[in-house]
Structure formats: structure tokens, C-alpha cells
Amino acid sequence: MSRDKILAALQQNQPELVPLPPDLSFEKDETIDLSAKFKAMAEGIGSKVYEVADAEEIKRLIALDFPDAKRILSNVDEVVSDGIPAFILDADPHSYENVDIAIFKPRLGVAENSALWLTEDLMGVRALPFITQHIVMIVDVAALVPDMHTAYQVIGDADYGFSTFIAGPSKTADIEQSLVLGAHGPRSMTIFLCRF
């Protein structure tokens, strides 16, 4: 059995046990304006960031920015309207192939790299955040943390089937290092920073 062969070879060849480093704490600059840092990083990576007061403003801006969108789905209760229906589960993820805009509210955002933590239960279906042509994220500023270490502290030992950090629109620089936004995932990411 390969399993046994591999484990036996390791038992024989691995070195003396070396302990894990005791300290995983890193200096945090407490004076940083998380919202401002997050916005700067997100824009640097290629997202569009709005600071908004309420859900009505969000719906208005989506209509303005995406006048031609035909199919919009929302996983965020506050951001639902006639033009923006709430997400309804279809067993076949392929059926979301023609979604133009999908709206999500991630659990937390990381200021150092604008990564947004979206767990499966907030996605509707796993494929949706990737298959949609454009992605919209509603980010509560109270859910911003400074760095990845803090993010994983907050995440803790949460159970999920799938989860992901999404830091911006999909992209590639594979062709002569020219950055192109919109590879296989969404072509754009719009972030609404708000307080709800």
C-alpha cells in the first residue's frame, strides 16, 4: 500500500521534531484608518469603491453603472428590488451562466490587501461569485480587520464547506505582463463600503 510505504519512509527519514514558533503576533499600527487603507488597496487592485450611506444609494449606483445588465441576483436582503431579485437556489450551477451581476455581503474585509472573506452560506451557490460577469460586494466597515492574522483569528475554527478570499476582479498578466482585468471570473468588482 502506497500510503503505508510513504508514511514508513517519512518516519524513517524525517528529522528530529522541531517545535512551532511560539509567537504569531505581528505589530499592528493601531492608528491606521482601516476604511481608507482598504479603499486604497482595493482601488489599486482594480475594484471600484463607493462609500455609501444606505441601501437605496447602492441600488441607485448599480442601476447607473450597469444600465445594460439583464440578470442581477442579490444575496443581500437589504439590496433587493424589482430590478434586483433575491437569489433563488437552482440545483444546477450551470443555470447561473447568464448572470450579469451578483451581489454578496462578505463576513469580513482585510485592509492590508482588500481581500473579502465570503463563506459558502453567503454565496447562494459556490459557482456564483465566479461565473457572474460582474461582482458587487457590500462591505460593513465594522467588519474590516487590519491584516490576515487578525482575519484568521476572527474566522477561528468556523466550519464551512467552501469559502474564499476575493481581493478584486479576476485578472491575468500572462500575456507579456500586461495586466488585463476580467480573466475567467468576474470582469469587474464594485465595493460598497457602508455601515450596515
Binding site: 500500500m1 502506497s2 500510503r3 510513504i6 508514511l7 519512509a9 517519512l10 527519514n13 524525517q14 528529522p15 528530529e16 521534531l17 522541531v18 517545535p19 512551532l20 514558533p21 504569531l24 505589530e27 487592485i45 440545483a91 492590508e112 490587501n113 481581500a115 451557490v125 459556490r126 459557482a127 465566479f130 461565473i131 491584516d147 490576515m148 492574522h149 482575519a151 484568521y152 483569528q153 474566522i155 475554527d157 466550519d159 464551512y160 464547506g161 467552501f162 469559502s163 474564499t164 478570499f165 476575493i166 481581493a167 478584486g168 476582479p169 479576476s170 485578472k171 491575468t172 498578466a173 500572462d174 500575456i175 507579456e176 505582463q177 488585463v180 476580467g182 480573466a183 475567467h184 471570473g185
Partner: protein, 460 residues
């Protein structure tokens, strides 16, 4: 001689015939190194992060058997099917079996250097299974029928005009297209079709968490996710060394990985796969393929800490001026040169010598592998095992003889200087490799030793 048997010096010589192209390749990768520097310098605690990551990986290697069994237990509890493969052939068979059992004849694959190492695509094609690589760079080299030349930037060696030509032949874009936006859009449409129709998806694994039985896949393009979330069967291939102990350690590694690789703060997607989607099969194949042997080599074991960021390639002045294909192995550059000899010392005996031992690689390695010291040590092993060529051996024995005796040394030196002075053409010709691009040094009238004897010793 066919490409497969050429050595690094031979392949590099061919690469260097087009100097403008070498400059382009070198400058592109140096620019990426600079982006990495800028990114690293924005993190004041960067060096402490590296040290922490290094220590975590040291701990992992020292307890790998235990971590793997813990990972397996937790992954199984999550509903993931776990397979173990002793070598490349077994890995390929396992992947094939999974696809066959599910009646899958077409698979979409996201980036996995492990599958390059195992030559999975060729094996599956021989079994009648069609594989499409979904990472744009990998798709490009797949269409070109070449292996990737860099572990993170697969087609860094290709110009946009060449990519345009490939897309013209295979994807129907108008001849002469070279705009990256247009080419990327074309690939998006073409591969979207692939994602929507293929029932089998294979991904690599960036990190496998022992504590939770989950694994993380990092991409900028979203191709791993597009494949996996639409497929009925998701297979993930991982080398045994991809383990990290706890979920919180991802904080350290995700901060280091992409900054080291390309200078970005993080990849667009860092996807954590824990359980299969309802109705989906999720498999993980844990692969050895020589890693347990490397584990037993005390001097070279640390190479297994590698998180495949590619920073060493970007900084290596030799890699930048010879290109990944000159290393004639799946993983090129400095890290490749210390991993490959373990797999086949004869075939890869040239790689540890494809270096000036400048040490830049070790400095950019996020997990502090002592790459340049391992390159030196591999040279000793390769010579001891008998893979140095005979002319070199004789030359070295002659050098030892000359340098072990002051009188022989002084005589030889004087003779050499006399030859250079009086019959320079004996040395300044095409048989002297130094002379191809450089003038020989001017022979001085007297050596330092002779000067000292004349001017100092007699006065003391």
C-alpha cells in the same frame, strides 16, 4: 542531438543567440523582482514573517508523517476521498481511474506543477482523455505544445505576437492580433465553454491544512474555481510537503506567497475547499514521487519547504538569461536545481552548476531555504557519485597538484604568463572558451610574490 538530451549550457547558448530577446526576458523578470521588493518593503515585519514561515515549515517537515495522517482523517470526515500515490505513474493512474469510473472523457485543469512533474496530460491523452489547461499561460503553452517555462508565469518566454499567432491558428482570431485585451477576451470565451461543459476538474493545492482537512487553491484568474464548482468530480493533486499545521498559519503564508511571486499583496482568489458540493465527488491525491527520498537527505531536505512562489527564478541572473526551458525539467531555476538531482542525478547533473552561487535566491525565498548552499553541496555529491565529466576531473586533479605545492605553482604561473606574453595566439583562440567574448588579462612583468621578494623581503 535532440532537445531532451541537451544540457543547460548547451540550451543556454542557443537561448543567447538572440541577444535582444534575452534582454527582453531578463528585463521582464527583473521588473517582477522589483515589484516583489516594493511589496516586501511595504511590510516592516517582512523578515520576521519569513523567519516565522521558515520555522513553521521546519516543524512540518519534522512531523510530516503525523500531519499527513491527521490531514487524511479530517479530510475523510469532511467527505473528501483521499488517495496516496508513491510515484508519478501511480498518480496518473489514480486520476485516470477516477475519471473512468465517472464516465468522464474530458477534463479541465488549473495550474498544478505537480501534474507537470508527473506528465499527467500526456498520460491522459494516451488513455483517450482530453485535457484542457484553463490557466491562460498554461493554455498558451499547451497550444504551443511546450512545457511551461516558469512555475508561476508559464509563458513568460512568449511574446504577444507569438501568442496572437497561436490564437489565430487555434482559436480563430484574425492574423496579426497581439492586443492582450483582445487575446484574453478570446481565451475567456473559449475557456468559458470548457468550464460549462466539462464534468471533471483537476486543481493543484497551494496549502493543505492538517488541522481541518481543507486545502487552499490560489489563482488570479478564477479558473480553478470555475472548473471545480461546475464539475461533478473535483480532483486535487498535492505533493506531501504542501501540508501546513493549522488554519491560522495561512495568515503567514498568504501574506508571503503572492508578494514573493509577483509583488501583489494577495492573489485575487484564495479558495478554501473543505467539503464537496452536494452531489459532487471531491478527491485529493497525495503524491510522493521522490519527496520521501529528499527528506532523507539531510543537506537537501529543506528544499521541501518550498511553497512554489518562483521568487528565486525572478531574481536569478542565470535563469533570467537562459530561460526556464534550458533547465530541461518541470521546475526550473534555483529551486529546480536542488530538487531535480534527487529525482535523477545523471540527467540533472548540470543544473547545480548553472549558477555563480551569488546567493540572491536564498535572500528572496519566503521560507528561507538555503538554496545557494545546497547548490554547492549538490556539486560535491554529483562529483562523488561520478557524474562529473572526465575532462573536468583531470583538470581538477591537475589544479590540485599545482596548487598544493608553492614551487609548482610559481613555475606554472610564470610559464602561463610567458605564453600569454610571447605566443598569445596559443591561448587567444576559439578553443579557449574565455576568449569567445572576453580579452585575456595582460600578463604582468612580475608576480606579486616576485615583487615582494625583490622589494620587501630583502629589506626585512
Amino acid at each position: 542531438m535532440n532537445e531532451a538530451t541537451k544540457t543547460h549550457p548547451e540550451l543556454s547558448e542557443i537561448f543567447n543567440q538572440d541577444e535582444a530577446r534575452v534582454d527582453w526576458h531578463d528585463e521582464t523578470l527583473w521588473w517582477i523582482r522589483q515589484k516583489r521588493d516594493k511589496s516586501a518593503h511595504s511590510i516592516p515585519e517582512w523578515e520576521r514573517l519569513r523567519e516565522t514561515a521558515s520555522q513553521i515549515k521546519n516543524n512540518v517537515l519534522s512531523g510530516l508523517a503525523g500531519y499527513l495522517t491527521t490531514f487524511e482523517k479530517n479530510a475523510l470526515a469532511n467527505g473528501i476521498v483521499v488517495h496516496w500515490a508513491a510515484d508519478a505513474a501511480e498518480h496518473n493512474r489514480i486520476v485516470h481511474d477516477i475519471l473512468k469510473r465517472n464516465g468522464i472523457g474530458q477534463m479541465v485543469k488549473s495550474k498544478s506543477m505537480l501534474t507537470e512533474e508527473c506528465h499527467l496530460n500526456e498520460y491522459l491523452e494516451e488513455q483517450g482523455i482530453d485535457v484542457i489547461d484553463s490557466d491562460l499561460g498554461e493554455r498558451i503553452v499547451q497550444l504551443a505544445k511546450e512545457p511551461p517555462s516558469h512555475i508561476v508565469l508559464p509563458c513568460i518566454h512568449k511574446k504577444k505576437e507569438e501568442i496572437g499567432d497561436l490564437f489565430h491558428i487555434h482559436l480563430g482570431v484574425p492574423a496579426g492580433t497581439s492586443d492582450p485585451q483582445i487575446l484574453t477576451e478570446t481565451a475567456r470565451q473559449h475557456l468559458r465553454e470548457t468550464f460549462l461543459t466539462r464534468r471533471g476538474a483537476l486543481t493543484g493545492v497551494n496549502f493543505a491544512i492538517a488541522e481541518t482537512g481543507e486545502f487552499v487553491v490560489c489563482t488570479n484568474e478564477g479558473n480553478a474555481d470555475m472548473g471545480a464548482h461546475l464539475a461533478d468530480v473535483h480532483i486535487a493533486s498535492m505533493g506531501i510537503e504542501k501540508i501546513i499545521p493549522q488554519r491560522k498559519h495561512l495568515g503567514v503564508f498568504l501574506r508571503l506567497l503572492t508578494r514573493s511571486a509577483t509583488g501583489q499583496p494577495i492573489t485575487t482568489y484564495s479558495s478554501h475547499f473543505k467539503k464537496p458540493r452536494a452531489g459532487q465527488e471531491m478527491h485529493i491525491v497525495i503524491v510522493d514521487n521522490g519527496r520521501t527520498v529528499q527528506m532523507g537527505r539531510e543537506d537537501f531536505r529543506a528544499s521541501l519547504k518550498c511553497i512554489r512562489c518562483g521568487a528565486c527564478m525572478n531574481t536569478c541572473p542565470v535563469y533570467r538569461r537562459s530561460g526556464g526551458h534550458s533547465y530541461h525539467t518541470a521546475i526550473a531555476g534555483p529551486i529546480g536545481a536542488i530538487l531535480a538531482p534527487n529525482l535523477d542525478m545523471k540527467k540533472y547533473a548540470d543544473l547545480p552548476f548553472a549558477s555563480t552561487l551569488c546567493g540572491s535566491c536564498s535572500n528572496v525565498c519566503p521560507v528561507k531555504i538555503d538554496i545557494h548552499q545546497q547548490l554547492y553541496k549538490w556539486r560535491q555529491v554529483i562529483v562523488k557519485e561520478g557524474y562529473a565529466d572526465t575532462t573536468k576531473k583531470i583538470g581538477m586533479q591537475l589544479m590540485t597538484f599545482t596548487l598544493s605545492s608553492p614551487t609548482v605553482f610559481r613555475t606554472a604561473g610564470k610559464a602561463g604568463r610567458w605564453v600569454l606574453k610571447h605566443i598569445p595566439f596559443a591561448v587567444n583562440n576559439k578553443f579557449n572558451p574565455w576568449f569567445i567574448h572576453r580579452e585575456m588579462p595582460e600578463p604582468p612583468a612580475e608576480s606579486f610574490g616576485e615583487w615582494y621578494k625583490k622589494n620587501v623581503k630583502k629589506n626585512s
